[in-house]
């Protein structure tokens, strides 16, 4: 596995743990279809489905992880969320929420994790 995929994988694991600790129930991870991939799909257990994009960086020399979530990526995530909804067909009419978890993983340092609720 390439180094950047390895980094992303570690980041996603960290994010999933973080979300679980904060009361979300993970429904799916790395849900793929022809349009792309959703990193984490979770629910708050009440009425909201949370689509979470995880962005991991090894440093901020090229900007923060948050800045990497561009307009194009946001548009793709929205499209993927609707595809997920139409495939899984959860019961009722859940609310949708889009979160971003940004993680900076520097060598020999504690991961810095930022969770942006309802980022867009």
């Amino acid at each position: 596995m390439a180094a950047k995929d390895e980094l992303g994988r570690r980041g996603e694991d960290l994010a999933a743990d973080y979300l679980s600790e904060h009361g979300l129930v993970i429904l799916a991870r790395n849900w793929r279809c022809s349009e792309g991939e959703l990193d984490i799909v979770a629910t708050d257990g009440i009425d909201t489905v949370v689509f979470c994009e995880v962005k991991t960086r090894s440093g901020t020399a090229f900007g923060t992880p948050m800045e990497a979530v561009t307009r194009t990526k946001r548009r793709r995530l929205r499209r993927l969320a609707f595809l997920w909804m139409s495939t899984i067909r959860p019961s009722g009419w859940p609310k949708l929420r889009f979160d971003v978890v940004g993680i900076v993983l520097r060598d020999n340092a504690k991961p810095e994790l930022t969770h942006l609720v309802a980022a867009f």
Binding site: M66, V69, R74, L116, A119, F120
Partner: protein, 505 residues
Amino acid sequence: MGLGHTYAVALTGVHGSVVEVEADIADGLPGITVVGMGDMAVAQARDRVRSAVVNSGVGWPRTRITVSLAPAGIHKRGAGFDAAIALALLAAEGVVPEGAVAEVVLIGELGLDGSVRPVPGVLPALLAARQAGKSEAIVAIDNLQEASLARGMLVRGVATLKDLIAHFRGDAGRLIVPGPRMQAPRRDLPDLADVYGQAEARFALELAAAGGHHLALIGPPGAGKTMLAARLPSLLPPLTEAESLEVTAIHSVAGTLDPTTPLLVTPPFIDPHHSASLAAMIGGGSGDLRPGSVSLAHLGVLFIDEAPEARRTVLDSLRQPMESGSVLVARAKQVARFPARFQLVLAANPCPCAAARDVDCTCAAGIRRRYLSRLSGPLMDRIDIRLDVPPVDVAALTGPPAAQESSAVVRSRVVEARARAAHRWREAGYRCNAQVQSRTVREWWRSHGPRPVLLERAVRVGALTARGYDRVLRLALTAADLAERPVPDASDVARALALRCGEAA
């Protein structure tokens, strides 16, 4: 996380409206949105402001930033909002105290390195801010002399965004105060003493200057039409302080001021080429509404050389501002009224071949007749003086230079004549004869002047229209003012009629 606000000014034509610039820093994905009907230059402020802030050594907030320009209903144009956006943002971020920038008006474009650059239209913008009760403004250093003309406001200049930030953090001495106002050197206007001979033309020019009458000069090339026209501003009295500000504000919007001595104190002389478009003449443009030649010539002289070659629509568009003293430029998105009280001078050759002597003319009779008729009747009807400028006398050219009166001498007579006219119309509030309403002139004449037998005959035989009749009365009044006669006599009327009905036109 925070809110900051400050002020800038949006211009529509030469009229400004104060704009509140708010910045909100909130949770969210990094990015900046600017709302409030900005044009492309305002949208691009995002990128300029970001680079300028980062290069001034201040961190850029990595969250969601919303900038609002209120009232949202007014179109905002140009890069002059950069400085206000940057400071509102820095106040929201907490880099400068929020209260420090809350009442100041900021006008300037930002360079990527954080330098603050001048923008056009600073004077009208600050006059509007003063009107709206704002008392403090900061502008780019190159705009400082111009900005300081807005008396009664605390106006200071700044070189860089870094200095601006330091100032609002309490570091005194980072802003530049305006120096003593530089006395604009009275522009070296061409002098009437350069004109040889042409006694009649000189007198007509003096008359035009004294009464504010529009003038048409018709004669062969080389007779000195352009030379004469260019000397008209030197015969006019200098602008008063209020007039200076009015004229300077228009030229500020056009972006043609000298940064060191911005105040225009002499009547402007604007000579658009005869190929000028309607928008260039009247004002307009697709984005900013810019003042046209008629407004740049406000309180000065608009000279159109080779007038019959100009497009008829362009020439006829002059009629409305000649009557009202202003133009209303209307576009789909905005409407602006520009002042346009100019004195028109037209110059024309008598025919297309423009032979020096009429006998040498090779034009067909019809062509010759049609040439001057390109100047439409309604336009020519508004022109009080139609002067034939004959070729220069050989004697005047080769003989010893006769002592010619200089512009200063003539101007002193003009100033006196204008004072007499202003005194006559003091109750009606007119400043020169050409401005006076027809009814007012006729009423004055009925109770004071001699019976204009000559004019009555001219009207009867159709040589003079009703408007022309009133115009000749005004011209006769100016002739009397120059001759220091309180009431025009028959010779003044005869002279006025002769000038009004110049043979060629």
